[in-house]
């Protein structure tokens, strides 16, 4: 069952790299949140400590699947016109890069061949992290940067799931709390920039240079 979810997660990663419209970004991010919820639920259902189970469930479902997409949607609503957005790098090449990232993460995954964490989790986590980075690098607008950061978040969360089942619950809380705090601040600023420049296009955000 887990394998199916992870494969679906991989597909969303590839699809996100060639998405054009902001609406598709929203759907994919929400989908990833839901997938992670199922993954976390199946992963932790085995473990007996109820508290961490409730937190993880709440955290993935509420934050990742619902709260963040809503936040992004009202940013999109404010940008009246920009349905379709331009990319710094043509879609074909960004997909190529993502494939390369997948190849690298597979190689890296089996190089680190310690058995105590499921290898497939490791590979997908690395794949998600690299895709997040590529998303940020290949786009000019702020919105895709935000989405890229979220994908990076999901990758890190998946990796902590793979490793973190042993790590104590308190530590997980602290980490995820911080990650989401930064997401919130980013969201606030993104909307502030949107309001200030009435079009969250990041090109003109490059006046600070040498």
């Amino acid at each position: 069952m887990n394998l199916a979810i992870i494969v679906l997660f991989g597909v969303t990663l590839m699809y996100i790299s060639i998405a054009e419209r902001f609406a598709t970004y929203l759907k994919l991010v929400a989908l990833q949140g839901v997938l992670l919820f199922f993954l976390a639920f199946s992963e932790l259902s085995g473990a007996n400590d109820l508290a961490s189970l409730i937190f993880v469930v709440a955290e993935t479902l509420i934050f990742k699947a619902i709260a963040v997409p809503v936040l992004l949607r009202n940013i999109v609503k404010k940008m009246k016109v920009a349905k379709v957005h331009a990319k710094a790098v043509p879609a074909f090449y960004s997909l190529l890069l993502v494939l390369v990232a997948m190849g690298v993460s597979v190689v890296l995954g089996d190089m680190l061949k310690i058995g105590n964490i499921e290898k497939i989790f490791m590979i997908t986590a690395l794949f998600a992290v690299f895709t997040g980075l590529i998303l940020v690098i290949t786009h000019k607008k702020i919105f895709p940067h935000l989405v890229g950061f979220l994908v990076l978040e999901n990758g890190v969360f998946m990796f902590s799931l793979a490793v973190g089942s042993e790590m104590p619950f308190l530590v997980n809380v602290g980490i995820l709390l911080d990650l989401f705090a930064s997401v919130l601040i980013l969201g606030v600023f993104a909307s502030r920039i949107g309001k200030r420049l009435n079009d969250p296009d990041v090109e003109d955000l490059s006046s600070l240079k040498d």
């Binding site: 890296l108 950061f149 978040e153 042993e166 980490i175 980013l186 600070l208």
Partner: protein, 466 residues
């Protein structure tokens, strides 16, 4: 430790609630006494751990004392800065500064990677409020970039910590504490250690102004108000140094240790080269000082990489650099008010307008480019000595060439402020003598580093290096 955190959180809350500037003054005074009490307690109970996650070891005490030395003038300058110029958001500014210092205390004292990581994240959030103080479009852009890139860095660092977490999982004691990790690292799978080190180094390079992600730190330093950029390029950089230094200690015993030092040296030499290129090019005073921080941190990274006596020199370099850079940034405000601009090409003849400040600038310049009376000379000499003792001749020649360019750029630009013909009519603004005296004190401390014999600071450093 716990009281310290509670008190500081309460103080921040009070600052935010009471809007009056006078209250902020009193509260910040309280915070400083709280800080000094913590320092005294730290020095008294050296080596003990408190609250399971915080220990007072050599490094922590040095960094805490540096923080106290820089925080007090930072607060004084901030109040002058706030009352004279912008009166917007005084409580938010002071609360942000107090929050930043508290999280930095957390960074210095933590004995656990995860706790260190959490407080690192806290510093990013608190400092973003301070960078955004001017609320101009530039400030907005700088803050956005700073948060975004720092968060990516923090996420990468978290990945690295998770990799380290894999080797801890089978032992089950306090997770990821330095001592615990050190013991386990010897037996861990080297590939994991390598990737962990790489991710954490790249993650924290925004904080310590090292090569991969130094860029946003430069922008933040340029836009933030001078007292804040003083704190950022000294105390926050020290925080990054502590993080990477702890990491290097963990890997010291293992076979990966040599590899980690080489990566650090590579990152160090790249950042010094980039600093040299931009020092020659930049025409903005604060940008120049930010790039000089990048250069000095590159040198510290090289010193850590070389190891042995160079580690000792790295600590001296950090101490001297903190004092000098803080003094220079505080003086920048006075220069800004005299010429009403940061453009170096427009400034000139400063020695005639405000000779006391000009002398601070001259002593600071000659200190930052490591001429004898400054502590940086001691550390650079020891670094070169250790480097040549290991027969690293190519590194030596490249570093010498690049350092010469940096010295040329810094001396030419900063001294042209003193002596060149000024194009902008000076406003005749005079900073109060007490503030300039504080800057003299800081430079005096930096020059004291050059002369001190085996005082208590020395055995603190020896403890830190163990």
């Amino acid at each position: 430790m716990l009281y310290f955190f509670i008190i500081s959180v309460v103080l921040v809350g009070l600052m935010l609630s009471i809007r009056k500037p006078l209250a902020c003054k009193v509260l910040s005074g309280l915070f400083i006494t709280n800080l000094i009490a913590l320092l005294v307690r730290a020095y008294a109970s050296k080596g003990q751990t408190e609250l399971a996650y915080f220990t007072f070891d050599g490094t922590a005490i040095i960094m805490l004392s540096l923080m106290v030395a820089v925080a007090i003038p930072a607060y004084i300058h901030s109040f002058y800065y706030l009352t004279h110029e912008s009166d917007r958001g005084i409580p938010l500014y002071i609360a942000g500064l107090t929050g930043l210092l508290t999280s930095l205390v957390g960074v210095y004292l933590s004995n656990n990677l995860i706790v260190l990581w959490v407080f690192m994240e806290a510093t990013t959030l608190t400092v973003s409020v301070l960078i955004y103080h001017h609320r101009s479009t530039h400030a907005l852009e700088a803050t956005w970039k700073y948060i975004f890139v720092s968060s990516i860095g923090i996420a990468l660092a978290y990945m690295g910590i998770l990799f380290l977490g894999t080797i801890v999982s089978n032992s089950g004691d306090i997770p990821l504490s330095y001592k615990g990790l050190e013991v386990l690292a010897a037996s861990a799978n080297p590939a994991y250690l390598r990737i962990a080190f790489l991710f954490i180094l790249v993650g924290f390079s925004t904080k310590m102004e090292l090569f991969p992600m130094h860029t946003v730190g430069i922008d933040a330093n340029t836009i933030a108000p001078p007292p804040i950029s003083a704190v950022m390029s000294t105390l926050m950089v020290n925080g990054g140094f502590v993080a990477i230094y702890r990491l290097l200690n963990i890997l010291d015993g293992t076979i990966v240790g040599q590899w980690a030092s080489n990566v650090l040296i590579l990152s160090g030499i790249l950042s010094v080269i980039i600093a040299a290129t931009y020092l020659l090019k930049s025409n903005n005073l604060k940008r120049l000082l930010a790039y000089s921080t990048l250069e000095n941190m590159g040198l510290v990274a090289i010193a850590l990489g070389i190891g042995g006596v160079a580690r000792y020199a790295a600590f001296i370099h950090i101490i001297a650099h903190t004092f000098l850079k803080a003094a220079l940034f505080f003086q920048v405000r006075q220069v800004r008010n005299t010429f009403d601009t940061y453009e170096i090409s427009k400034m000139g003849g400063y020695i005639r307008h405000y000779s006391a400040g000009a002398l601070v600038l001259m002593l600071g310049t000659l200190g930052i480019v490591a001429f004898p009376p400054s502590g940086l000379f001691v550390s650079e000499l020891t670094i070169f000595k250790a480097m040549l003792a290991q027969e690293r001749w190519i590194l030596f020649t490249v570093l010498v060439l690049v350092l010469l360019c940096c010295v040329y750029a810094i001396v030419q630009k900063l001294l042209s402020i003193l002596y060149a013909k000024e194009t902008v009519k000076p406003t005749g603004f005079k900073l109060s003598m007490s503030l300039t005296a504080v800057q003299y004190l800081l430079i005096g401390l930096a020059f004291y580093v050059f002369f001190f014999k085996d005082g208590f600071v020395m055995n603190l450093i020896n403890e830190a290096i163990k």
